[in-house]
């Protein structure tokens, strides 16, 4: 059984169908990259998995359990699935450390004193030990995004979703954030990324899915998608993206 399964997921905004019957299996410890043009439905799909958007049809299974069931309490699910956004979305009125401790304190009822050592260890692991007491506006974009990753990891999630997390960064800061993803992969984190970093997807992903108009047009190992794409749409997209 896959860690995360999407079954015929359909999501509409008004008359627009943003996800049009998406099927996807993500195995435990796998890194899956979603690629495709802006508006293909990558971000919406991630928001659906985290129940930030209710789906219109289909099912999303986590450990075989349907988490998209209407009426289910979404908080318990979101506590198990971490998400990182393109625009960081750190809480500007809290230090980096407070950002990371808020959810474990509120959701798991842990105390600051109990949390401090383990959260500080997370900051240290991602090279942010001396940045914990800074406010977000005192950090570079790359640092902010790494704090956002630490904040999500502090909840000890089983799956992590990354929504174009390097798109808002200066080119020279992209590397430090992608390095964090590689570290997480090494630790066996299950991850789904929406990304425009084709080079990274090619090197690091276990599976790459090409989305177009709300559908997965082609999926496979990165060597296959980038080396020998079967579908004309995939080839056309890659030709533009890799130019």
């Amino acid at each position: 059984m896959a860690k995360l399964e999407l079954r015929d997921v359909i999501k509409r905004f008004g008359d627009t169908t943003v996800c049009n019957g998406i099927n996807l299996d993500v195995e435990e410890g796998q890194m899956v990259c979603l690629i495709g043009a802006s508006g293909a439905g990558k971000s919406t799909l991630l928001r659906c998995i985290n129940l930030l958007e209710p789906i219109d049809d289909g099912a999303i299974l986590l450990d075989g359990e349907d988490i998209s069931e209407p009426g289910l309490n979404p908080q318990a699910v979101r506590a198990r699935i971490g998400m990182v956004f393109q625009s960081f979305n750190l809480f500007p009125h809290m230090t980096a450390l407070e950002n990371a401790m808020l959810a474990p304190r509120r959701v798991h009822g842990q105390t600051r004193t109990d949390l401090q050592p383990q959260v500080a260890a997370l900051f240290a692991r991602f090279g942010l030990a001396d940045r914990m007491d800074n406010y977000p506006d005192q950090l570079s974009g790359g640092q902010q995004q790494r704090v956002a990753i630490v904040r999500a990891l502090a909840m000890q999630p089983e799956v992590m979703l990354f929504d174009e997390i390097t798109s808002a960064l200066d080119p020279q800061l992209v590397g430090e954030v992608l390095d964090v993803l590689l570290m997480l992969k090494k630790q066996g984190m299950t991850m789904v990324l929406a990304t425009h970093e084709m080079g990274f997807a090619r090197e690091a992903a276990d599976k790459v899915c090409f989305l177009k108009d709300g559908q997965i047009v082609e999926e496979g190992a990165p060597e296959q998608i980038f080396g020998a794409p079967q579908r004309a749409e995939t080839r056309a997209f890659l030709a533009r993206a890799l130019k």
Binding site: Q75, M83, F85, A103, R106
Partner: protein, 271 residues
Amino acid sequence: MVPTRRERYEARQRRRSLLIAATSTTVVLAAIMILVPMTPGWEKVQRSFFNGEVLAKSFPKLLEAFKINVMIFAWSAPAIAILGLLIALARDTKSPALFPLRIFGAAFTDVFRGVPVILTVYLIGFGIPGLGLPRPWNSPYIWGSLALILTYSAYVAEIFRSGIESVHHSQRSAALSLGLSERQVMRDVVLPQAIRNVVPSQMNMLIALQKDVSLLSFIGPVEIFRQAGVFKSLLANFTPYVGAAIIFLIVTIPATRYADYLMARQRRDRS
């Protein structure tokens, strides 16, 4: 270091604008000081509005009476902050069980923003003690303050609401994605930012409240405005009103300056 040609030019420009500003200010002030005393009624106005003797006589008592204003302000302001925030939250609630609360919040803000403060003060300040309540429950201090609290809460609630809306929805998404409940998102993430965003606007409400406390004089309390009126009748002179105005300005000018400073700082932080 020797100034560059550009620096010398800019220094010259600065001196020039300073000189022009000083000259034009002097001319305007001189014109006022020369022309106003030339008006036919000036001497009478000076005697009845700017009488040093009357001012010296009434000022200590006015200051004493101003303590009442400060007192009413001091207990009304926290009540307004709390009630205003509660109304704002009531109007924002999404739970269907709390729908009546939403309606109440909307009706409350509509009514109390729609009625002149002085009318509310009269209606509540005379109406409720008219029920024949025993002392101290018939005190105009209580019901007058309540009138101010209700009116100002309505405005303050709307400012809080605009603050809540000013927090970007991506902050909500991020907080929800961490597993926080709607209530926790509001309390820990949205409200702290919302309140910070509206501090300058709320400062202006406080300044307005400080002045409107004087409206209670119409239902009894001898605060500064009423006290000035007493002196006016006693001494047949308007100078006590000028004295009262001076006391208000001593408080409100620093407060408005501070509010402006906060607002300027906020604009700077955002850009």
